[in-house]
């Protein structure tokens, strides 16, 4: 490599017209959220006794978890398989996963009726419940993600602690705490890296187990005992496209040159992963003979078709083409399609497929639900922009000599 890529806080200014629009979307979402906390879930959602779960679970939680898969897939590739080439993308992926899971937790927090009891699963266990498993794993993984992010905090502030006012007398103490924290983390980080991957595999699949208990309430096109496997495979296949999409977006937004060689080689993994997922999905359909439902032309079969054709088959073909993998536009479109496909899959599993026996009307998300979901997405992007400005997340070319460290999460990168 001609240049060393070193994670550096981005110095570009925070506010742009786009950021202001995002802020407005976020505020709009927060207003509806206030309504939810003041007057109950029913006052801002279209949820009822027939449809207990809507897009707050289907998109904010289920799709949110899937789209944060970039964190554990890149950690597995870069840290566990030691493919050093990909180390520059690990930190951004980790930040996205951390923010993504934080907002997954927020999604759960606002969706459950008794938000102040969100800690109950920690002490009240039901090992039979898929939701319990998801809940515990997400809580543990979120903790792991925060720990994995800590080295960026220590790296940013070590030797530069400068507290305001009278707090400045603690500068030395804080600095020494940071130093010992950094030393401790660099020795133990591998524990958390492996734990993060294991926990991710567990809850990504258990998220698929969630809807199995709905039994015949769920459309046969999606209801299958291998749902956990399909959820895991789709999480594997969406991880890298998510990283590619973010990296390209960030490069564009901050006026940096896209790291095309890294992204191109990363994109080689996508087609095989998507292929395995597609085989699972279609194989299951053939074995259970659910393709008969595709002969009916209705909303359900259309949405299934959109999910599989536009969300899996088209991007699979695109990622197989070297020309697409070498062009930023091609990569961007193909990655977006995979992301769209997984998003649709989670939406379909949790919303489209669910039809209760005594339904009198169908569910469509309310303006409040959509506002909150969009608000969370906007907030996530705003936090991402803030964090890359404060912490050394994104790697930019540098002439400075690099610091050699054990785990790239905390050190600089060749």
């Amino acid at each position: 490599m001609a240049h060393l890529h070193i994670p550096t806080p981005i110095s570009k200014k925070y506010f742009t017209p786009g950021v202001i629009i995002l802020a407005l979307i976020a505020v709009n979402g927060l207003i509806f959220l206030a309504g939810r906390f003041l007057f109950g879930i029913g006052s801002v959602t279209n949820l009822n006794d027939q449809y207990p779960w809507g897009i707050w679970i289907g998109l904010d939680v289920a799709a949110g978890v899937a789209l944060a898969a970039g964190g554990f897939t890149t950690a597995a590739l870069g840290h566990i398989m030691h493919r050093d080439k990909y180390e520059t993308i690990i930190r951004p992926a980790l930040l996205t996963a951390m923010l993504g899971y934080t907002f997954v937790a927020m999604g759960v927090f606002v969706d459950i009726g008794r938000w102040y009891y969100i800690w109950h699963p920690l002490v009240m266990w039901n090992g039979n419940s898929a939701l319990f498993e998801v809940g515990i794993c997400v809580m543990m993984y979120l903790t792991v993600l925060y720990i994995e992010f800590l080295p960026m905090v220590t790296e940013r502030f070590m030797g530069k602690v400068n507290l305001p006012g009278f707090l400045s007398r603690f500068n030395k103490i804080v600095d020494s705490i940071l130093h010992s924290l950094d030393r401790g983390l660099s020795k133990t980080m591998f524990i958390f890296i492996i734990a993060g991957v294991v926990l991710s595999c567990l809850h990504q699949s258990s998220l698929g187990t969630l809807m199995i208990i709905a039994g015949p309430k769920m459309h046969p096109l999606w209801q299958t005992p291998i749902l956990p496997l399909l959820f895991l495979l789709s999480a594997f296949s969406v991880g890298f496209p998510m990283v590619i999409m973010e990296s390209l977006t960030a490069s564009r937004s901050f006026g940096l040159k896209p790291e095309l060689d890294v992204l191109s080689s990363l994109s080689k993994f996508v087609a095989p992963l998507l292929g395995i997922y597609l085989i699972g999905k279609l194989g299951d359909m053939v074995i259970r003979e659910t393709f008969v439902y595709l002969t009916e032309f209705n909303l359900v079969s259309i949405l299934f078709g959109v999910e599989v054709i536009i969300g899996v088959i088209v991007p699979l073909r695109m990622f197989l083409a070297p020309a697409v993998r070498k062009s930023p536009t091609g990569l961007y479109i193909a990655s977006m399609l995979v992301i769209f496909g997984v998003l649709m899959n989670r939406f379909n599993n949790f919303v489209t497929a669910y039809s209760p026996p005594y339904a009198v009307e169908s569910y469509f998300p309310s303006i409040g639900e959509i506002s909150v979901t969009l608000g969370f997405v906007a907030l996530e992007i705003l936090f991402y922009r803030l964090f890359v400005k404060i912490f050394p997340v994104i790697s930019i070319p540098s002439d400075k000599a690099h610091i050699k460290t054990k785990y790239a999460i905390r050190g600089a990168v060749k």
Binding site: I41, H79, H82, P121, S129, I194
Partner: protein, 298 residues
């Protein structure tokens, strides 16, 4: 480097040991919940829809027994409401609906109190439990309001107080557990003027239902709904027509939680798969790292 590797191994071993310790403690708790104790004398109710006259006294009595506003009983004698397909809701734990389909029948609906309830299996905190006397009850002190029980219930029974900002409740028939523990009949059974509802031991009720079918084969459809559906329910129904696919959804005889519990236990199986994955990944990490250092040393 060797120092690091020794540390690495030490830590891996420590994790393995502590996880094994955790796993040896936890499954006991979960197993206790896997097999709800089903007493031989567990109770049930036999609903004979051929006898029901649709007076809705059961609805009225139920409201009274659970502290809801009852209103005057006169207002309940209203054919228009009978024809609307209502569902149990947050202020009405039981409803009587009229079904017109080659003859007319009125059918009382409420929680079926499954033998192997999906809601109990689903509940994230174990707030719903199957009691020894057969009733499936909800615990307000544990519930977090996630509504997964509503997703799981094959009969679409639990209702949720969507318009309460604080302490919204999951509401469903509790089989009058307070009344029955005092030796009283459930309020609906107690008030039914035509004895369409019979309270008793579930096993005896099944015998009674089959006796009725045998004695009046012209009057009954030859099936006790709830004997085997979703692994059996405490509430059993007799009718002149097949209720499945009409009044009730068509359900198989597998227990309500279905395969979800076996998948769940398969993935966990005393924490063996997670630990195995952890060990595998640790191994890969260690091996690829060794390769790296060799490369660097050359």
């Amino acid at each position: 480097m060797s120092q690091n590797r020794r540390e690495f191994l030490k830590t891996i071993a420590a994790i393995g040991a502590s996880t094994a310790a955790i796993s040896s403690v936890t499954p006991k708790k979960t197993i206790a919940k896997t097999e709800p104790f089903l007493s031989e004398d567990r109770k049930g109710v036999l609903v004979d829809t051929t006898v029901c006259i649709g007076c809705r006294k059961c609805e009225w009595a139920c409201k009274g027994a659970h502290g809801f506003e009852q209103g005057d009983f006169e207002n309940y004698q209203n054919d228009e409401i009978l024809n609307v397909q209502r569902r149990p809701s947050t202020n009405n734990l039981t409803v009587v609906n009229k079904y017109i389909d080659e003859g007319t029948r009125t059918v009382k609906m409420q929680c079926m109190h499954c033998e192997h309830p999906a809601c109990v299996s689903a509940c994230i905190v174990g707030a719903i439990s199957k009691k020894e006397n057969g009733s499936v009850v909800w615990d307000t002190d544990m519930c977090i309001g996630c509504r997964y029980c509503m997703v799981a219930c094959p009969f679409q029974i639990p209702a949720f107080e969507y318009y309460k900002a604080l302490d919204p409740k999951i509401v469903k028939c509790d089989f009058c557990i307070e009344r029955t523990s005092e030796g009283k009949l459930p309020a609906c059974v107690n008030i039914c003027p035509v004895e369409a509802l019979t309270y008793g031991t579930r096993n005896e009720l099944i015998d009674e239902a089959k006796r009725r079918i045998k004695n009046h084969p012209d009057k009954y459809f030859d099936h006790v709904f709830g004997e085997y559906e979703v692994g059996g329910t405490s509430w059993l129904y007799l009718a002149d027509k097949n209720l499945a696919g009409n009044v009730f959804p068509k359900l198989g005889n597998n227990t309500a939680p279905g395969v979800s519990e076996s998948i769940q236990h398969g993935i966990f199986a005393y924490f063996v798969p997670p630990i195995a994955v952890y060990a595998l990944l640790g191994g890969i990490m260690w091996l690829t790292k060794e390769k790296e250092t060799k490369k660097e040393n050359k």
